[in-house]
Subunit: 177 residues, 2 copies
Amino acid sequence: MKKKTIAIDMDGVLADIESQLIEHYNNAYGANLTKESIQGLSEEIAFGNRDLLRGILNKDNFFRTLPVMPDAVESLLALQENFEIFIVSAATEFPVSLAEKVAWLGEHFPFIKWENIVLCGSKRIINTDYLIDDHCKNLDYCMGKPIMFKAFHNVNQTHHVRVNNWKEAVAVLNATL
Amino acid sequence: MKKKTIAIDMDGVLADIESQLIEHYNNAYGANLTKESIQGLSEEIAFGNRDLLRGILNKDNFFRTLPVMPDAVESLLALQENFEIFIVSAATEFPVSLAEKVAWLGEHFPFIKWENIVLCGSKRIINTDYLIDDHCKNLDYCMGKPIMFKAFHNVNQTHHVRVNNWKEAVAVLNATL
């Protein structure tokens, strides 16, 4: 039987962009942001200096050096037994990130083939059975069933199935088999 | 009314990869390929030295300097009035090409926003109303209606609607309105 498909976001889902962004932002701006202090804030409010933020996201090696989310590797390996996994990252806004994201996946998730990597803008035309993402701008318009991965900016959003970590994500998906 | 969507391939459809590949391949291999001599051949037979071919496709600036297909710019501008256009290129196999493709589009098709650019592997999960592509490996499995853009390697394929150039592509698509 054909496996069901899952589109999985990178930043905030496979890659812990939050920690690294806080660190770079504090260093560049002299701010004192912490994971706790930005809970429930929108990205626009948490990282208020948008030019600075764009500068950080356009820096060489920013995306290449992101930490991997806890349990993400083991979870994808386990899910791959029953689902076909596509990595779908909104990346074309930051061209420097494109090759870095492919290299990052090659290092940490070598079992994901290039055929299953999608670097895009809008995710509106991505048609998989499930989408795991942290952003409502993607989850609200996707074609498959949305699964919201916890991030500081979405803790007050309640209109999607929520998972707080990769262990929960695997449990929710395996329950659909 | 919501516009219908078109996914448009890059290499062989918007970008004249054929001319540039022949030139690089002849220079590197001492071959005498011409556009005429490879008509009807598969890519594997036309460019038989696969390692050499991969070397060319991985070279810096190969994709950045491809010529634009005749009438492609004017055609996309015209189509954009009635359709939403997504550029969908199978590019993740060649990471060097990723940022180059975004830069190439920015130079020649500045009216295409980053939100509408998709650099992927398999196009099986791309869901648009139409796909214009030159490869059966994409056209045979796409979710929308396939439109085959003429290329040397597909001239003997007859199982898709065929267009020989951009003027014909615009005519075929506008006839669906």
